[in-house]
């Protein structure tokens, strides 16, 4: 029944949507065509080439609510002194803000795998971009279907 409770709350959802609209309208004009995730990615990496591959985003394809979604990012890399993952950035397309998490790694990690839990305001795509020690950029994208948008019950 709580699913119904969540669906019945309209005011906060409206506010959340408003906040998203506001942040989108603050973006420079050419960015509007790109969407918030691609814009954010370009803001970090400029015009550098980003190739698809080596990065795997592991997320449940369908979640009951977006407030706490488990996410694992893994990057194919030997993680040696000469060949390792320097950084990983994760972006989203529909939250009020496009960034999710950024992290720095070193060869001492042994394995370029990290797991965390994130918030998703509705069904959307996520992209993780790995920056390698040789300067190349690799990306992986995944879509998560959120059965209901992340919103609140009435406050207790």
């Amino acid at each position: 029944m709580d699913a119904m409770a969540r669906l019945l709350i309209t005011r906060r959802e409206a506010v959340l949507a408003g906040a998203a609209a506001l942040s989108a309208s603050a973006l420079p004009a050419p960015a509007a065509a790109l969407g918030q995730m691609d814009t954010a990615i370009r803001n970090v990496f400029g015009e550098a080439t980003i190739r698809a591959g080596k990065v795997t985003l592991d997320l449940p394809p369908l979640v009951e609510n977006g407030n706490t979604v488990p996410m694992t990012v893994s990057v194919e890399s030997p993680m040696t002194k000469d060949n390792y993952v320097k950084a990983i950035h994760v972006f989203n397309d529909k939250n009020p803000q496009p960034n999710v998490i950024s992290l720095k790694l070193s060869p001492r990690a042994g394995k370029a795998v990290i797991a965390t839990r994130i918030r998703l305001a509705g069904t959307q795509k996520l992209t993780a971009i790995a920056e390698m020690s040789d300067g190349t950029l690799w990306s992986g994208t995944e879509e998560v279907v959120v059965t209901l948008a992340a919103c609140l019950e009435d406050l207790p």
């Binding site: 999710v100 042994g110 797991a115």
Partner: protein
């Protein structure tokens, strides 16, 4: 009550082993995008960074955004190199700072 953190580091490892480290900390991660019952935006209150050092050297560092869920949970890996101490530090809005340590024996 102060923030509470849970860390899972193997007590013992063989030199060169890749070990899994799990961390969990209590924090609301108030996104700054929510509205309170009074109609006003609830101010942002999040952890903004988390880092781990191994015998003083930084081996892992993250930046968190409001999209990280409440009670942040992070799992990562590192190579067991020496006996010693892993120190975990979370820093956030409103002067939030928590450091916790774990010992490891490397054979």
């Amino acid at each position: 009550m102060t923030a509470r953190a849970l860390i899972n580091v193997p007590r013992k490892a063989k030199r060169g082993d890749v070990i899994e480290i799990k961390t969990l900390i209590s924090h609301v991660m108030e996104s700054g995008f929510r509205t309170g019952t009074n109609g006003k935006t609830i101010p942002r209150d999040i952890i903004t960074s988390f880092a781990c050092t191994y015998n003083g050297e930084e081996i892992f560092a993250t930046q968190f955004y409001p999209a990280v869920a409440a009670n942040p949970f992070v799992t990562f890996y590192t190579i067991a190199t020496d006996n010693g101490t892993l120190a975990f530090t979370w820093i956030g809005d409103n002067g939030f700072e928590v450091t916790q340590e774990a010992k490891i024996v490397v054979e």
